[in-house]
């Protein structure tokens, strides 16, 4: 492993951006590790959440934004609840995803594809159309066997709507997304 | 030596010796660079900082004033900063009434170890003051006299809920009055005197009556001309037994005096009667003048009798007139919620004395509304124009039932020497600020200050502003509870309604 030059890996603008957007003071973290200790998804992470925090303190933008962990965070708020320094860690993770998306870095493409499919459905109908989301996801990822095993379990229950539930204000929702995209490109 | 032109503004700091002065020292020892504008006055405790020092500085040309003490609970004198917090917050809410930007005054807490914090406090405050720039001087404000050409001080229309105007029939009133006289006659032998009202120099004016002999009691009158708050006379009867006749509002002043132990409960007998409201003589006069085509060549007329007829004040004599009560009744009566005296030997009188608006929804007095509607610049201009004609006769003070210092008022003393005899706006306004600050949490808004003013300066608005501050900050209303402790003589470790000011 290479020696890390703390000066050269440090990106102060990045630190500032994370603090600004999340409203959290990263300097409050003293690395007790409680966020990692309680993280239900830690087993799947490539970088533990307390180490994400440490890397943020060091301003290591690439390391953080290229990690898979930020996409796997379940937003369950265990870390936030147990942080002895009152840092909303889950919100920091959210903000890291925002920045990564803006910069086009996504280490877990499947996750964002599913999210995008979800939002596309919302944009189109105003409400989520579950079957549509899964279909869209399958189409985009080519994972045709996704949850095929569950079909016989759920099909007879009559819960899956064959048709989307469109709402009157569909256009209004679409405009929200449109303005969001305009703001983003500005 | 003046402030450095173009570089510095005049910023005065009052720092407690134990914490904040030490904090400033610590900042110095740590070589934390700071703006050079601030001049520090060392005081033992933030509790020693009289809000008037701040006013004196701000009226005298300071661009900013900063007070800093120990953190709450950390006071060297254990409670000084708690008192300071109440006093200074009260001041901060009051400054806008004068058209002074409250951001020019700030108070905060810095401990002796917080050098870094002190640097931040000074830097951010001085930066704020620089953003605001030189403080505009009240005496240089463009005079602002809204409606001046109509000879009117700004009066927004009264806002509901209003007390309806309904006076008892003459017969009922006479019976009640006789009942009241009886009570007084019975008590008179044990008393030095009983203070009431009688007809004054003409039928339109009542004047205080000092009843010593039974026959004096016959002169006692009751009606809408009994404008005076006779509680004002009580403190001078210290150690003597005296009686006083009160309206509902006057009774609140008696309560306040009892609370402050300026009147002994054993020495005062209170007689009261349910009140239907009194007139505002200025309005009466103005309404009469309005009918005078000659531009009010002479202001006074001499009526032969005055009475209430239905909704009107009827004036008989050479120039008879019918004035709509709604036009001439005092503002305070329309918004009154205590028509029946709160203590004493009360004749219910007109049992139908209408209740006023609910106490939990205090109406906003119109003159306060008017002040609210002005911009800070207009307020400066307003007070400049109003105070210009102040004669410094101190009728406002001497008529005030709560101005108990009287002969020892700091407005005229040399030690302490708060004001000079200079006839300028600043000195005149300064007294009004002293009056308002000294009344904080004590004023019952009886309006005597304004009524007494021979040149009709609307000084009551300042007290109304202050009362609103006190109500908002401390949920307190003066003159309803003899046993209450006025908010500025007390504190709470955690203040419910005072937020820390971010510095």
């Amino acid at each position: 492993m290479d020696v890390t030059n703390l000066e050269s890996v440090r990106d102060d603008d990045f630190i500032h951006a994370v603090m600004e957007e999340s409203g959290q003071d990263l300097t409050h973290c003293y690395q007790c590790g409680n966020c990692t200790a309680g993280c239900p998804c830690g087993f799947a992470y490539d970088i533990q959440v307390s180490q994400i925090m440490r890397n943020l303190q060091a301003g290591r933008k690439d390391k953080v934004l290229n990690s898979r962990s930020i996409w796997l965070c379940l937003s369950c708020s265990s870390c936030t609840t147990r942080c002895p320094n009152n840092i909303d860690v889950a919100r920091v993770m959210d903000v890291l995803r925002h920045i990564a998306r803006r910069e086009g870095r996504v280490a877990e493409k499947g996750v964002t594809t599913f999210w995008d499919a979800f939002l596309a459905s919302v944009r189109r109908h105003g409400r989520v159309y579950e079957l549509g989301v899964v279909a869209n996801y399958v189409a985009r990822t080519g994972r045709v066997w996704t949850d095929i095993d569950l079909l016989p379990r759920i099909a007879p229950k009559g819960k899956l709507s064959p048709m989307p539930h469109g709402i009157k204000g569909r256009d209004e929702i679409a405009r929200i997304f449109q303005r969001y995209e305009e703001e983003r490109t500005r | 030596m003046p402030v450095l032109k173009g570089k510095e503004l005049r910023v005065v700091g009052f720092l407690c010796n134990w914490c904040s002065y030490g904090g400033a020292d610590t900042a110095g020892v740590g070589r934390f660079s700071q703006p050079t504008d601030l001049r520090i006055i060392r005081v033992p405790c933030s509790g020693r900082v009289d809000p008037m020092f701040v006013v004196k500085a701000l009226l005298g040309g300071a661009d900013g004033v900063l007070v800093s003490g120990c953190h709450p609970r950390d006071c060297h004198y254990s409670q000084g900063n708690f008192y300071a917090r109440r006093r200074l917050e009260t001041l901060k809410t009051f400054l806008p009434a004068l058209g002074i930007d409250p951001d020019r005054f700030q108070y905060t807490w810095v401990s002796a170890s917080e050098g870094q914090r002190w640097k931040n406090v000074v830097s951010s405050f001085v930066e704020k003051v620089h953003q605001l720039g030189h403080a505009p001087r009240i005496e240089e404000a463009a005079p602002y006299l809204p409606l001046a050409e109509k000879g009117d001080t700004p009066r927004a229309p009264l806002r509901p809920p209003l007390r309806p105007l309904s006076y008892p029939a003459a017969g009922t009133l006479a019976a009640s009055l006789e009942q009241l006289r009886e009570k007084i006659r019975a008590a008179l032998p044990e008393l030095d005197c009983v203070i009431g009202w009688q007809q004054g120099f003409d039928a339109l004016h009542a004047t205080p009556l000092f009843m010593r002999k039974p026959e004096d009691v016959d002169k006692l009158t009751w009606g809408p001309l009994n404008v005076h708050n006779l509680a004002t006379y009580l403190p001078q009867f210290k150690n003597r037994k005296v009686g006083v006749v009160v309206k509902g509002c006057d009774s609140r002043s008696v309560i306040e005096l009892l609370q402050e132990k300026l009147v002994e409960p054993d020495n005062v007998r209170v007689f009261g009667m349910a009140c239907e409201g009194v007139v505002d003589m200025t309005r009466v006069q103005k309404t009469l003048d309005a009918g005078n085509a000659d531009g009010a060549m002479c202001a006074d007329t001499a009526p032969s009798s005055v009475g209430v007829e239905g909704d009107n004040l009827s004036i008989e004599g050479e120039a008879p007139a019918r004035l709509r009560l709604a036009d001439v009744v005092a503002e305070k009566c329309r918004t009154c919620d205590t028509p029946v005296p709160l203590l004493g030997d009360v004749v219910e009188g007109n049992a139908s004395a209408p209740a006023g608006p609910a106490p939990d929804a205090p109406p906003s007095p119109p003159s306060l509304d008017a002040l609210d509607s002005m911009t800070p610049e207009q307020r400066r201009g307003f007070w400049r124009a109003q105070m210009d004609r102040c004669l410094r006769c101190y009728a406002c003070r001497n008529a005030c039932p709560m101005c108990v210092c009287r002969d020892h008022c700091i407005a005229e003393s040399r030690d302490p020497h708060w004001t000079t005899q200079e006839g300028n706006i600043r000195e005149k306004l300064q007294f009004q600020v002293i009056h308002a600050l000294h009344l904080a949490g004590r004023c019952t808004e009886c309006g005597e200050c304004q009524r007494a003013c021979p040149v009709n300066i609307p000084v009551l608005a300042l007290k109304q502003w202050m009362n609103r501050s006190v109500r908002t900050l401390f949920d307190y209303r003066a003159g309803v509870d003899v046993n209450a402790v006025p908010p500025l003589l007390a504190f709470a470790v955690e203040e419910k309604n005072i937020k820390e000011h971010g510095l």
């Binding site: 409680n34 | 020292d25 809000p51 004198y77």
Partner: protein, 652 residues
């Protein structure tokens, strides 16, 4: 007036960024200034001599020194002017170092500011008046509040110094937290073996009057002359007669009384002597569980007591003591760990506090010194210690480090191995704070000799799993989530201020911090004094402390009291308030707001007026602002003096 101004270079400290001679020159034009000069070091011997000479030569009657902060050298220069025959209050300082030269580099702005500060000082000095202190007698007795190790030490040192001590203890025995400890770090010697003899000394010392099971109710007066009301709470046993034989405890049929001394590990009898070495060794009845009180019939203890000491009808009693000084040694309490729901919030019987564990380890404890799990009495083989429970945790408003938990945890881990040789201990820690003599060595021994497993990281959650507990945490050094199945979990709970501390502080008129710990006068230089003259601090009431520090402070506070009492009479500071009776209208507002009760009513020609009790007034000036007439003025900080400073700045 004839004023002399001395502007100090302080070497280059001031001279570096302020035109010192220029300021002295400008000052020469100020009103009443008849002499002005610069000086290299005003506080040096030659600097002071120059001031004395100038006073004599120019017949000065007031002096301004512009140099460092008055908090540093005001006393120095006051003595200087006094040597030259002036009253010490005819002196003012302008702080042109900390407030000018050290905080900015703009020479022009600095010089201008320095000159203005000098001018403010001159304007104030012109209104200064000579002030003279008053002297008064001292009651040479001391009140010690709290009979923990700090209070015991303070009491013994004072008593040995020959002064009478009144020691008030809230519980029925002295000894405090230390009496509950099994062993002490880093020597692992027996706590009761070292504390016990001191407790006995207290009971036998002729100069000590001990009120156990008593509380301070009211304090009035001032340094040298305090009056203290002590409430002696009912014990229902006449301690004059009780011999501490313990027969009542043996026979008491109600055996479910909460055992506070043993930290509620188990229960005890309703009539009880908390532990064998208790001082005073007297029985006390818990009326909340005693059958006689609860059911109205029993009377067993009264029947068996050989001396007939039981008094079911006993009531609280208030006694008044006169003392000249007060030492507070009220100690600390432990953080309530039930706030941590993720650690079970009190629902898991085998998750206990460190002090409970201490009782399990102690031979005089409920298990006789055998470590057993509260749930099933089994001996634990895997013990997990979790540090910083209620310390260094902003989320529960305890951001501070309690200081001693690292060390006692190491000690308990070591003792665990001693008690159960085939056990293994884990310690979850964030940082090891072992900055005392032999402390670091001790924690190293725990790891190296006793095999204690230190895991750097916090524990997120404790999950019951069968009859064990899965401790889920992190090892941040490994960078991994970890878990340990534990038989017993010991929480190193932090220290917090003793319950009731703020209320006591208010009675004493001393300050306390956000967490209820009492404030010392100066964090470094006056660590056992408070800002109320005659009130001193010892031990953990001022902040978390270990035993050596507490004992050291106990002795230090005693030394302060002995020093105070070594003077026959005390002098009061003349910077106090004074009433102008001609202006006073007798409204009493000053009496209401005075935090010290230093203003009283006085009758003057039939009128009530306010009067300042000179020895009680502390000079805060709250009254001066309260008084609408300005009739009560704080000397040396009068309205006119402060106005002179304001006017110097703001009138032009």
């Amino acid at each position: 007036m004839r004023i002399g101004v001395f502007v100090c270079h302080c070497g280059s400290n001031i001279g570096g960024t302020v035109d010192v001679p220029g300021v002295a020159e400008v000052a020469r034009a100020y009103p009443d200034v008849v002499f002005s000069s610069d000086t290299m070091y005003a506080c040096s011997e030659p600097g002071q001599a120059a001031i004395v000479d100038a006073i004599k030569e120019h017949a000065l009657d007031g002096v301004v020194v512009a140099s460092c902060t008055p908090r540093m050298h005001e006393p120095t220069f006051r003595r200087t002017v006094e040597r030259a025959g002036l009253n010490r209050y005819m002196f003012e300082m302008a702080n042109i170092r900390e407030h000018v030269s050290w905080i900015g580099k703009d020479r022009e702005a600095n010089s201008n500011k320095a000159a203005e500060l000098v001018r403010m000082a001159v304007e104030k000095l012109r209104l200064n008046a000579p002030l003279y202190p008053k002297s008064f007698d001292v009651t040479k007795r001391v009140l010690v509040i709290g009979g923990g190790v700090a209070g015991i030490q303070a009491a013994l040192d004072c008593a040995d110094g020959g002064i009478e001590v009144v020691l008030v203890e809230r519980e029925s025995t002295i000894g405090g937290k230390m009496a509950k400890l099994d062993k002490t770090f880093p020597t692992v010697d027996c706590s009761s073996c070292i504390l016990g003899p001191k407790m006995v000394d207290v009971s036998q010392h002729p100069n000590i009057r001990l009120y156990a099971h008593a509380e301070v109710e009211k304090i009035s007066g001032y340094v040298g002359n305090f009056k203290v009301d002590v409430r002696r709470k009912a014990t229902y046993v006449d301690w004059e007669l009780c011999t501490g034989c313990g027969l009542c405890m043996e026979k008491c049929p109600s055996k479910k009384s909460p055992d506070a001394f043993n930290e509620h590990v188990g229960v005890t009898t309703s009539i009880n002597i908390p532990f064998p070495q208790a001082i005073p060794k007297k029985a006390i009845i818990d009326p909340t569980s005693c059958r006689q009180f609860v059911k109205g019939k029993c009377g067993v203890c009264a029947k068996v007591c050989p001396t007939g000491a039981i008094r079911y009808d006993m009531e609280d009693q208030v006694v008044t003591e006169d003392v000249g000084a007060i030492i507070t040694a009220t100690g600390y309490d432990l953080f309530d760990y039930t706030k941590y729901a993720e650690y079970g919030g009190g629902r898991y019987p085998d998750v206990i506090t460190s002090l409970q564990y201490e009782r399990l380890l102690s031979a005089s404890g409920p298990t006789g010194g055998h470590v057993k799990r509260p749930s099933d009495g089994k001996e634990p083989k895997t013990v997990v210690f979790i540090q910083c429970v209620g310390s260094r945790d902003r989320s529960v408003d305890r951001p501070y480090c309690s200081g001693f938990c690292c060390m006692y945890t190491a000690k308990q881990a070591v003792l665990t191995k001693d008690h159960i040789p085939d056990s293994r201990s884990y310690v979850f820690y964030m940082d090891i704070r072992a900055n005392g003599k032999m402390y670091e060595e001790f924690t190293r021994r725990a790891m190296e000799e006793y095999g204690v497993q230190y895991v750097r990281g916090r524990v997120s959650m404790i999950v019951p799993q069968g009859d064990t507990y899965l401790v889920r945490g992190v090892d941040t050094l490994l960078g991994e989530q970890v878990e340990v199945p534990a038989d017993l979990v010991v929480l190193a709970v932090g220290a917090e201020s003793s319950h009731g501390a703020p209320q006591l502080a208010e009675k004493l008129r001393i300050s306390y911090d956000n967490y209820g710990f009492f404030m010392e006068s100066h964090c470094k230089l006056r660590p056992v004094e408070t800002n109320t003259a005659g009130v001193y601090l010892a031990g953990a009431c001022q902040g978390p402390k270990d035993i050596p520090s507490s004992v050291g402070q106990g002795s230090a506070a005693a030394a302060k009291v002995l020093g105070l009492f070594s003077r026959g009479r005390l002098e009061s500071d003349p910077q106090i308030s004074q009433v102008d009776v001609r202006r006073c209208v007798g409204c009493g507002k000053c009496i209401t707001t005075c935090p010290y009760g230093a203003i009283e009513w006085m009758e003057l020609r039939g009128e009530m007026k306010a009067r300042v009790i000179e020895t009680v007034c502390q000079g805060c000036g709250i009254c001066t602002v309260t008084c609408p007439q300005g009739a009560i003025q704080l000397q040396h900080f009068t309205d006119n003096q402060i106005l002179a400073e304001v006017n110097a700045l703001c009138l032009s």
